[in-house]
Symmetry: D2
Subunit: 346 residues, 4 copies
Amino acid sequence: MLKVGIVGGTGYTGVELLRILSQHPGVRITAITSRKEAGLPVADMYPSLRGRVDLAFTTPDEARLAECDVVFFATPHGVAMAQARELLAAGVKIIDLAADFRLKDTAEFEKWYGMPHTCPDILGEAVYGLPELNREAIRGARIVGNPGCYPTSVQLGFAPLLRTPGLVDASHLIANCASGVSGAGRKAEVATLFSEAADNFKAYGVKGHRHGPEINQQLRAVAGHADVHCLFVPHLIPAIRGIHSTLYARLTPQGQEADLQKLFEDCYRGEPFVDVMPAGSAPETRSVRASNIVRIAVHRPMPDLAMVLVVEDNLTKGASGQAVQCMNLMCGLDETAGLMFVPVLP
Amino acid sequence: MLKVGIVGGTGYTGVELLRILSQHPGVRITAITSRKEAGLPVADMYPSLRGRVDLAFTTPDEARLAECDVVFFATPHGVAMAQARELLAAGVKIIDLAADFRLKDTAEFEKWYGMPHTCPDILGEAVYGLPELNREAIRGARIVGNPGCYPTSVQLGFAPLLRTPGLVDASHLIANCASGVSGAGRKAEVATLFSEAADNFKAYGVKGHRHGPEINQQLRAVAGHADVHCLFVPHLIPAIRGIHSTLYARLTPQGQEADLQKLFEDCYRGEPFVDVMPAGSAPETRSVRASNIVRIAVHRPMPDLAMVLVVEDNLTKGASGQAVQCMNLMCGLDETAGLMFVPVLP
Amino acid sequence: MLKVGIVGGTGYTGVELLRILSQHPGVRITAITSRKEAGLPVADMYPSLRGRVDLAFTTPDEARLAECDVVFFATPHGVAMAQARELLAAGVKIIDLAADFRLKDTAEFEKWYGMPHTCPDILGEAVYGLPELNREAIRGARIVGNPGCYPTSVQLGFAPLLRTPGLVDASHLIANCASGVSGAGRKAEVATLFSEAADNFKAYGVKGHRHGPEINQQLRAVAGHADVHCLFVPHLIPAIRGIHSTLYARLTPQGQEADLQKLFEDCYRGEPFVDVMPAGSAPETRSVRASNIVRIAVHRPMPDLAMVLVVEDNLTKGASGQAVQCMNLMCGLDETAGLMFVPVLP
Amino acid sequence: MLKVGIVGGTGYTGVELLRILSQHPGVRITAITSRKEAGLPVADMYPSLRGRVDLAFTTPDEARLAECDVVFFATPHGVAMAQARELLAAGVKIIDLAADFRLKDTAEFEKWYGMPHTCPDILGEAVYGLPELNREAIRGARIVGNPGCYPTSVQLGFAPLLRTPGLVDASHLIANCASGVSGAGRKAEVATLFSEAADNFKAYGVKGHRHGPEINQQLRAVAGHADVHCLFVPHLIPAIRGIHSTLYARLTPQGQEADLQKLFEDCYRGEPFVDVMPAGSAPETRSVRASNIVRIAVHRPMPDLAMVLVVEDNLTKGASGQAVQCMNLMCGLDETAGLMFVPVLP
């Protein structure tokens, strides 16, 4: 059994990690930390875990994280950065669900996250944790930067179009995305109150969103060149979970010759968590609710335009499920262990 | 035109006051204060008011409230108390939407609101602002304590049963109520985040809720004796607006002889904002959405049990609409002026 | 592996059965029938099951249900009744999620469900499938009438108070309940459209609801006498899943002496799916979302009044999860097999 | 007072017409028809109208529509077409909220609406009822085809960019839109049940939606040439009301020189129902809830890309409010009469 620690388990990615890991056959959760809630039984904060998770939150000092095989950081940005060196030295594998190890360019990190990056060497070693595009690197990684929720869906949706050179005009991609409110986390804020977010819809982050540079960095990696520019426009859905991405790319003459459906099916054949739907489909966010699955449908609504529809659960494949998928890979477990739960519908 | 000031207009009762007063034919809003947001145009905080409310928030000092005819306090508890004496001395009428002037017993106030009551003399003068039960006193009032949202529906539902002595066992009334989330106000709190309150239902305040003593004080006033005890159990609906009260009272043998439907219709005949529905009805909260109407249906599901169903919009009849109704009465306007807007359905 | 058939799998209890059974370690689903959708792959109707359920709907004739070990009826009322005799004769165990085998009095059945009962002998044999109150009978049953969603929560909430004689006035119980909209099923109806049910709250069935006689029949069985009368008042929550019951019972002098918290804890000690929460708790429906758990809190808000709060997921413990729990018992499997999934929160 | 009739008042556009017209100072509703509900008081179907609308539904025969000044058709497609000739002959003005008089090409109409167009001559006379783009023609019209909900927002968002020739590549416009569920009407359908549409998000109509040809017809009219092609992709928001359109257009070199903010402000200066928001804004659907206002924000997120965000209430400016705005123009009333109600927020 893997010994697993969670740093900062009071947020939504924390409770989702606990939901998944408490049902994982190969894992024992040994510690979950929260400075603020130290001493509180986890199930007192999350009654959904009563009888299933007996741990109490502990201070980081009491947590003996160095004795874990793997530590997840479900913390605000900046926390993993501060503790990574010590844990790595102790032989602990690290998976950071925040952004500390996503952006390779420290200047970009500092610009978007408002803090200096304190361990660029570890950043250099860290692997971007999107298994479908980066599986082998993750297997060998000591530290993984778990992808952002939006970037996961945007990358998986555009990747088949970008991997083959010359199919689309990569300089003008559009990712028109929408997320449930849990993507904003469990912070007390007016903007995500029920009475603000319910029965409402809006774009946000219209002057620039942190996931924009992450998306572009990774799409460039997929395409293998730097002339990729994706406009990312997030919107807020009055729903708890779920991300829906509507992606647009202009097809080149070469791209117009391609069989897009086949391109996508070939790209994801055998992937346990990516479902390429039949031609003409429109995936719903609820079809992946509380699961680690991404569903994708590709369309060609104008002769020279590809449209890709992608859905995922932002807390599962968009965060904690993907983190466990990375853990499975890093630790030599079956990649799907503990992750095959069926979506909850309705 | 009445000159009207609003102290503390950044919350939901504030914006609802603005919605109503900006369409009121006999009113000019001259000031709206917020220490924190002073200088900010109101419409920048509430884009729904763009083009309709041109005011900016001001500090209380700049607001010249003493020149107003009426001042509404849409503030946290305790604010009206601190400013009432000076305004009354200047001849300004006051309507407090918070709880400073609801509970007549200062000890009860201090127990439930955690602060001493600093002007018991003004409290003694203040009139409880529920027009259907207290119209004449409101007409003559200089200062009104506007009722709580739940107490409005509970009082209007029980009043016909309590006004005639001997119909029910008043010592064991049950008010099983449910409110939309806007009743909790526009404060940044985890418990009322969308991701906490959506797709969920729960009781709350089960160890005692502030509206309990208010309900009991007023039901005793209606009944004309002290042997009234109402259990008040609030629940949280995943909806923005709306209160639904399901009220239970055991009927005495005398009560079992009564024609309850007729009792209710007689009680509220001619009331512009109370709709006694036909026998057998089940009112919906949406049937009064964004209106000043209360709908009531009375049932007798067991021979010796009365059940009353009441709906209101917690922000309108349960707060700001009722406050404007009081203003109309206090200032000699038609009671319905500015308040006849039709509910928004769907 | 048990061979399991599902008759009528197109509704919400059907898809919930599929979600549960497709992850159950001891079961193989061999057939799922729908006359209307025969030929359609189940996953085409419910994309959440893509890759997990490969079956297509079949006609009842093709389904070879007689070869199953267990058959679930997730059908409209009346269907199980028509097919039970033949299946029982073939040695198939039956679990009916509709109401055909709940009410023991055929006159009551005919009154509330508008059809004659065609097999009163089988009805006589059928066991009411609430394991916490009826476990041994279920173990030995060939045919189980699976409880209604509301009755499950009301019985589990009142049972500890009724089992010991003389604690409460059983002649005037009140069950003030609320359910998510999925309880109404997947039928095309105006009343349960999103635009009708969202941002709304109402009582319904105020002239009498089918679950009323079921509740009273079973509470009488629990109490062991006929002088039990429970008023049942359902309300509609704008949420997909979840039932919340707020139960009221007047305590006798003897009842006022009892330690209610201990009474409940003793009653449900060791029950894998009933969680008696600490004194003072208010359970939330989301704390059991998509799980087979019931959470209960008992209060005494007035000296002679008990209030019990109960939450369950209407589709899981209130329907399909409970049915699988019964199957486990009937077939000698571990009662919790396939049912230990952790609630989905948020 | 205008005498106004409504044909087919049982749907959402019907009840919204009733909400608006019952508060309109210059109108008397004389008849509202429904074959199916003839005899039923309108307020029995819509309790929100109790005390405000005293009419009962009548059969078309009893309705004496020929005596009206104006008749609104809030009916399924095809009904207005069948009755228009007779009413026009009687001197009645007609506003059709369905699609009978929107598409000028009868072949397109037949393709998308599945029925032949029976009065092409009247279609030729009919005026497209979008006042901001077509005011003078509406003033003189006898019959108006009221725009679709989506097309209203898409046209108002793209118009400033298309009116000046050469600013954008009009051959590849993208309208990524989202609508609340009330846009689907009050029909009993599984797809719009609460349990299907809540906590969910999806694209729909991905193989082509009826509003696509309407959008393209009208954008061509605005641009003054035929080389306009707009891809229209609708999505379903789990909200009752509200449309949000996110529009994309590639800017030509000339367009990149333009001051887009000024372009939009100039275009809509003085319009009572169009609010061009400050640069950098992201309008919310709730900021126009239950009002006749459209809010627009224009952005330039890439040097050669314009993005326009538009919100409207689909039932008000997207249907019934716009219809009343047209009525005001056709009948010589103040264009804003009865339409200045402030949005309901929260």
